[in-house]
């Protein structure tokens, strides 16, 4: 290995290490973490929006062919700005995706499992929810909307 090669290798390693440290900082320091293994919630059959406190909600979402069931069949819900929402997600049939555009909530809905993310909706506005995994002929028409007032 000549000098130039050695330098290139060390630079590459240093760069990757730097990126990785930032990632761990974002995950553990800033608490922007990935979904993990949920073992204590059974998959549910129907969507529900439950208010636990004025600004604390629990949202149980069932993705199915071809809409998001946010609350007993509703595809649109309304919550006040500043609410912290615990989002649970499952699927009633095939694999779906759920991306709340403009947020870090980006989850897969897989039958037989429950996915989870927590998000604080600070900014008022309309949050579009998109299914981003192919789920059959109606995939591009999956409805879902969260209105933050």
């Amino acid at each position: 290995m000549d000098r130039a090669e050695k330098r290139a290798l060390i630079t590459a390693l240093a760069l990757l290490l730097f990126f990785f440290v930032l990632i761990v900082y974002a995950a553990k320091g800033l608490k922007i973490d990935l979904p993990t293994c949920i073992t204590d919630v059974q998959p549910f059959k129907e969507g529900r929006l439950i208010q636990h406190a004025p600004d604390r909600y629990e949202l149980q979402v069932v993705a199915k062919m071809w809409f998001f069931d946010f609350n007993q069949g509703q595809t649109e819900i309304e919550i006040p700005a500043g609410s912290v929402v615990d989002i649970y997600l499952t699927s009633a049939d095939v694999v779906h995706g759920m991306h709340i555009n403009g947020t870090t909530v980006n989850l897969m809905a897989i039958p037989g499992t429950v996915n989870y993310a927590r998000y604080k909706f600070d900014k008022p506005g309309v949050y579009h929810v998109v299914c981003h995994e192919f789920c059959g002929v109606g995939h591009h028409a999956m409805m879902g909307k969260i209105v933050v007032k």
Binding site: M1, D2, A4, E5, L9, A12, L13, L15, L16, F19, F20, I23, A26, A27, I32, D33, L34, P35, T36, C37, I38, T39, Q42, P43, K64, M65, W66, L89, D93, V94, V95, G97, H99, N101, G102, T104, V105, N106, L107, M108, I110, P111, G112, T113, V114, N115, Y116, H128, V130, C131, H132, E133, F134, C135, G136, V137, H139, H140, A141, M143
Partner: protein
């Protein structure tokens, strides 16, 4: 090395057959940008619907074309560098399995029996011929390695006990070892989960397990596409730049290949970052390994640049002492001899530079939340597999066809220009997809023209319109580039023969070389790679079968929100009712 008869037919058809399919694959790529932008607001066009076409686009371009090329290239490399004839029996069985399997799967896809996309995630389920066809293609692609190239390498080693395996053969071998290992999990998924479900042998399966097994295969497969291109970059590119060109370092090449062997496998969870049922500590560990696997690509970037510098300076000594000026001496658009091939590698490398950077974004654990399954992802991988890999494979296909047919490369000017059209088109396409995806959440795998980009739909998203339109312009340039290539390719294929049919490659010597006994121990590294892969997958497999999963899921097909079994029962019942009524 001369080739004739059956072997010549096999080598040629292993190149031509997938390129014929690729014509459809690329055609539908162009259709996709039109559908997505709403230029074409329809479910289907000419009898092929969007998702069916997308399935064909993914399977043909990323699985069939690449696998055929890897086998044809490996055959030719083994023949040329080990100087042992190929074994017709092995080659014919492999050919029949690969072509037969491909036709089976193609039948299922063209007849709308397997609209599953190339990831075929259950509980969506297709016709069994799709699954078995895929398995046959894969089995066929393994045979030459085990029954042809390895025996030839052993014989070669006996004759050349103190030489090391040529670097190109070494790279091809690492690639097929990797291919063999990664096939195991996806074969388990297909044979024990999907195939039994598709013929009704079992009623339900565990979809999360299926996904985990799929991605155990699905990440390393991208290196199976990439490594033949790397073999060309290391061993051939310097020779194309200059007859006096040299590879900067042979040991660096071997080190890169071994690192790929080790770290390509324990990384599949980076495709499942947003999935439930898997402990995120394991996702982080796979993220670390993914960063390790960026290392051999960074080594390659250095070595390729150094080889280009050495070769450009060897070609034109007047730039010998300049630090940057040698860049102007590369044959960007030249038609003498084999220099036209440089365009393919150069355009590919430029795209791959961005592919590498954007890949690190994907791999970055929580950053993945911003891009997962958005259009960013296809934006990224069209600069890798649709960039360097495709261009290197197309260029080398044209080169090999000219040699094997014994013709000149026809329409060389078009052949040399095609990659630049492709590169420019891909820049626009990928930029649009990546920015629209990452910043605005434009999803992938979506016929968005019907809803999101349709002003009459309640789902209309005006903020995506500009990105979709830019991707149409990119798609058009890509289509033009591909047509230019096809003109040169078929012109060459059908040109009159003027030379002997040969298999030949421009192989460069190494500038730095040294014995590398540790790196050359392929058996040892293979064992290490298998161990690392198994260890890194035991805990996630435990999660997805024991801890994080509650019940199993029946099969659906893409049209009905009712499980297939129930659907068949209701169909049978309604038939009975109507029969009774008739009576």
């Amino acid at each position: 090395m001369r080739v004739e008869g059956g072997i010549k037919f096999i080598l040629l058809s292993e190149i031509v057959f997938p390129i014929l399919l690729l014509i459809f694959g690329v055609y539908h790529g162009v259709m996709q940008v039109l559908y997505r932008a709403g230029v074409l607001k329809a479910d289907s066009f000419l009898g092929i619907d969007y998702y069916q076409g997308l399935t064909l686009h993914g399977v043909i371009n990323a699985i069939v074309f690449t696998t055929f090329f890897a086998v044809a290239f490996g055959n030719a490399i083994s023949l040329y560098l080990l100087k042992k004839p190929l074994r017709p029996a092995v080659q014919w069985i492999s050919w029949i399995l690969m072509v037969g399997g491909t036709l089976m799967a193609a039948w299922a896809m063209f007849t709308k029996r397997a609209t599953l996309l190339y990831t075929f995630y259950p509980p969506l389920i297709g016709h069994w011929t799709f699954y078995i066809g895929t398995v046959l293609l894969v089995v066929g692609s393994l045979l030459p390695f085990f029954f042809d190239w390895i025996p030839s390498a052993i014989a070669w080693k006996r004759e050349n006990p103190d030489k090391k395996l040529p670097l190109a053969v070494f790279g091809v071998f690492v690639n097929h070892i990797l291919w063999t290992i990664m096939i195991v999990p996806v074969a388990v998924e297909i044979l024990f989960q999907l195939f039994p479900l598709s013929i009704g042998l079992v009623e339900d399966i565990n979809p999360l397990l299926a996904r985990t097994l799929f991605w155990f295969f699905g990440h390393p497969v991208v290196y199976f596409w990439l490594l033949p291109a790397y073999v060309m970059l290391y061993t051939m590119l310097p020779k194309i730049v200059s007859d006096k060109g040299k590879l900067y370092s042979d040991p660096a090449g071997r080190l890169a290949f071994i690192l790929f062997l080790l770290f390509s496998l324990p990384v599949g969870l980076h495709h499942q970052f947003t999935e439930p049922g898997i402990t995120n500590a394991w996702k982080l560990i796979h993220a670390i390994f993914t960063f390790f696997v960026a290392l051999p690509s960074l080594i390659t970037a250095f070595t390729v640049a150094a080889s280009l510098e050495y070769s450009a300076k060897a070609e034109d000594p007047s730039v010998k002492n300049s630090r940057f000026y040698w860049w102007t001496r590369l044959p960007y658009l030249r038609l003498e001899g084999d220099k036209w091939l440089f365009s393919y590698f150069f355009a590919g490398l430029v795209l791959f530079f961005f592919g590498g950077i954007t890949g690190i974004v994907n791999a970055s654990y929580n950053l993945n939340l911003a891009v997962h399954n958005t259009a960013y992802v296809p934006g990224h991988f069209h600069t890798t597999v649709g960039g360097l890999v495709l261009l290197a494979f197309l260029g080398m296909s044209l080169y090999m066809v000219a040699k094997i047919r014994g013709t000149e490369v026809k329409f060389k000017g078009l052949a040399a220009l095609a990659p630049y059209f492709w590169m420019q088109g891909m820049f626009m396409f990928s930029y649009a997809m990546m920015v629209g995806g990452a910043l605005e959440g434009f999803p992938r795998r979506t016929n968005s023209g019907l809803t999101y980009l349709n002003p009459d739909s309640p789902l209309y998203r005006p903020e995506w319109v500009g990105y979709a339109q830019l991707s149409v312009v990119g798609g058009a340039l890509l289509g033009i580039g591909f047509i230019l290539f096809l003109i040169a390719f078929f012109g060459t294929l059908l040109a009159p023969k003027i030379r002997e049919s040969v298999v030949e490659f421009p192989i460069a010597d190494a500038y730095h070389d040294a014995p590398t006994p540790v790196l050359n121990n392929l058996k040892g590294w293979t064992v290490a790679a298998v161990l690392l892969a198994v260890l890194s997958y035991i805990p996630p497999l435990y999660d997805v079968t024991q801890r994080g999963v509650f019940h199993n899921s029946p099969a659906y097909n893409e049209k009905y929100p009712i499980p297939i079994k129930q659907l068949q029962q209701t169909e049978a019942q309604s038939k009975e009712v109507s029969l009774k009524e008739e009576k």
